[in-house]
């Protein structure tokens, strides 16, 4: 990473719920191709930041610049369209659809067929459907759950559901993949496999924004880390420096 291009810049993003300041003028910069960690104690505003970024919440102050363009993220599907895909802290899969169908839904954005294509099932639609199924299958292989392809998502194990959510997010062809606590509730082996997967995703050219509680995972995986505390960014640097920062230690240990 000789030259560092900015992929996402948050400028003084602010969000409050009633009198509670969930985010207080948070600014941060994510470079293209890096794994960027966002950590902080519970209630620090990490998920709120995610929700503002992906258009689920509307931030009251500040703005995001993504890939050189100011985000008008007033609707989540627009965020996905410009290339921001996400997973959810409390997994949100389409439970009564099979694993592969879940990933196929992720292809919605990058495909075209409408009602008339579906009903007439013309050659263009058939080709597109085949491509969707093929790509979904590839992605299931990629995250390592191809053998669960035709199982309903709600019957998958916890770790597999996390992986399926990542596969579904990748299906939208994101430039930035935002993972909200992907290792939550995973055991050591599963966390290690997740680390390998996330590194692979970065190697394949997708920038990763990671919210995580597992400090060891974040420090081992991320190129840079930002720390939120009570809605404010208190630190942003490479893991080695962040770990030694007095304010971070205080926030985590409750000083």
């Amino acid at each position: 990473m000789a030259e560092q291009q900015t992929l996402l810049a948050a400028h003084e993003v602010a969000k409050h719920f009633g009198g509670v300041k969930a985010l207080h003028d948070v600014s941060l910069t994510i470079h293209r191709g890096e794994i960027y960690g966002l950590i902080g104690p519970n209630g620090a505003g990490k998920t709120t930041f995610f929700n503002c970024l992906t258009g689920l919440y509307r931030n009251e102050g500040g703005h995001f610049v993504f890939d050189g363009v100011k985000l008008e993220a007033d609707a989540p599907h627009k965020a996905a369209e410009v290339g921001i895909a996400r997973t959810f802290q409390n997994i949100r899969l389409f439970g009564n659809m099979t694993a592969i169908e879940n990933v196929m839904v992720g292809r919605h954005l990058r495909t075209r067929a409408g009602v008339f294509g579906a009903i007439s099932r013309n050659s263009a639609t058939r080709a597109e459907e085949a491509a969707i199924a093929r790509r979904a299958d590839e992605l299931l292989h990629y995250v390592g759950i191809q053998e669960r392809s035709h199982d309903y998502a709600r019957y998958l194990s916890y770790g597999d559901q996390r992986r399926l959510e990542i596969a579904r997010a990748l299906a939208t062809e994101p430039k930035l993949l935002a993972l909200d606590e992907p290792a939550a509730g995973m055991n050591g082996t599963e966390t290690e496999a997740l680390r390998v997967l996330v590194e692979g995703i970065r190697r394949d050219g997708v920038t990763v924004l990671l919210i995580e509680h597992d400090v060891k995972l974040v420090m081992g995986l991320c190129d840079r880390v930002a720390v939120l505390d009570y809605g404010e960014k208190i630190c942003e640097d490479v893991p080695a420096i962040v770990q030694k920062d007095a304010r971070v230690i205080e926030a985590y240990l409750g000083g």
Binding site: L56, L93, T98, H108, G117, A118, I119, E129, A133
Partner: protein
């Protein structure tokens, strides 16, 4: 679904099953006619309801939007046909103009209902759609003054039957040595229309749009995060469902020769919804079964209860009409108690899918 009629032994079985089904469908109007044309008409209504239920299935079963005013679109289609092919305005357009026109108008009403209700779900949506259904019915009832558009509660009579050249669906005629009565002809038309709506349902189910509907039904927030424009996709579901309701209404008007607001009550909406839920929401064979049972059962009870009471008690004890509704209601409760996913829910779906992607 593409693998279903393959050249495997199972494919052969499917073909045999298909031929058997075709034979049964062909035989029904003739067998029913032995008991009188009334039975053919009952069969026709059963198929009309299959059509309606599958239209509603798109909205409720696939997209998961609880619509209690579906009959409004049926009414719009029926009145479109009635106004454009009757002496009421003296307009007599051919059916192939009116049916698509009725579908388009119903589609427009679908969007009109859908647009303000996009943010509503579940019970809230049900209440608004219920109100919408009633509004349409009340409009039909009262649009006879100051300008007489719908002829109010008296309804519109002498509606043209479906006619292709000199071949009218209202009269008995002989084709290739087979004598067909009017209802029998409508029967075949309705079977063709039902086949069409079944194909549309199947194809939509395993399509980009169908998956988007299911995704919205499962988790709207996640669907949005996947880049689905939920507003447009939901409106599309309303519009598609409404169009089918419009077509069904047109055929109903032509078949009956008479429409009045009475035919489009809330009870009708609920019956159609019950067909979808009882049969197995989102599962095409289940919905078909639900529609046939819920049309056939009340009629069977109507004709069966009186002789039964006479045979058992020697006289009439309970009014057949009230007993009919009692048995009907009880049947609904029992089905929902013991088969909450519907009589025929989609258990085979996984296997079909694995074949389709092979």
């Amino acid at each position: 679904m593409s693998g279903r009629f393959g050249r495997s032994p199972r494919g052969m079985q499917h073909w045999l099953g298909f031929l058997l089904l075709l034979a049964v469908l062909l035989a029904i109007p003739f067998v029913a006619a032995l008991g009188g044309q009334a039975w053919v008409r009952i069969a026709n209504f059963a198929i009309l309801y299959v059509f309606l239920a599958l239209g509603l299935n798109i909205v409720v079963g696939y997209a998961g939007l609880l619509d209690l005013g579906y009959v409004a679109f049926y009414a719009v289609g029926a009145y479109c046909y009635a106004l454009l092919a009757s002496p009421h305005f003296g307009i007599h357009l051919p059916f192939w103009v009116i049916l698509p026109f009725g579908a388009a108008v119903a589609c427009l009403f679908g969007v009109l209902l859908g647009a303000p209700t996009l943010k509503l779900r579940g019970d809230y949506l049900a209440i608004v759609t219920l109100g919408f259904g009633e509004i349409i019915r009340i409009f039909m009832n009262n649009l006879n003054a100051p300008i007489n558009v719908t002829n109010g509660a008296q309804g519109i009579t002498l509606i043209d039957p479906i006619r292709i050249g000199d071949f009218s669906f209202a009269k008995t005629s002989t084709i290739f040595g087979v004598t067909l009565s009017g209802p029998q002809k409508y029967y075949f038309l309705l079977v063709a229309l039902a086949a069409l709506v079944i194909v549309v349902n199947i194809r939509l189910q395993n399509s980009r749009i169908g998956r988007a509907w299911q995704a919205i039904r499962e988790d709207e927030v996640a669907a949005k995060a996947c880049g689905i424009n939920t507003r447009n996709i939901k409106l599309l579901a309303f519009a598609m469902g409404a169009s089918f309701g419009g077509i069904a209404g047109g055929v109903f008007a032509a078949m009956q020769g008479f429409v009045s607001p009475e035919s489009f009550s809330l009870m009708e909406s609920i019956t159609i919804l019950a067909m979808v839920v009882l049969g197995g929401m989102g599962h095409i064979p289940g919905v078909i079964l639900g529609a046939i049972l819920l049309t056939g059962l009340p009629e069977a009870l109507r004709y069966g209860i009186e002789p039964l009471q006479k045979a058992v008690f020697g006289r009439m004890i309970i009014d057949p009409e009230s007993l009919r509704m009692l048995v009907f209601g009880l049947a609904l409760v029992l089905v929902m108690r013991f088969r909450p996913a519907g009589l025929w829910p989609s258990s085979l779906r996984r296997r079909e899918l694995s074949e389709a992607t092979d």
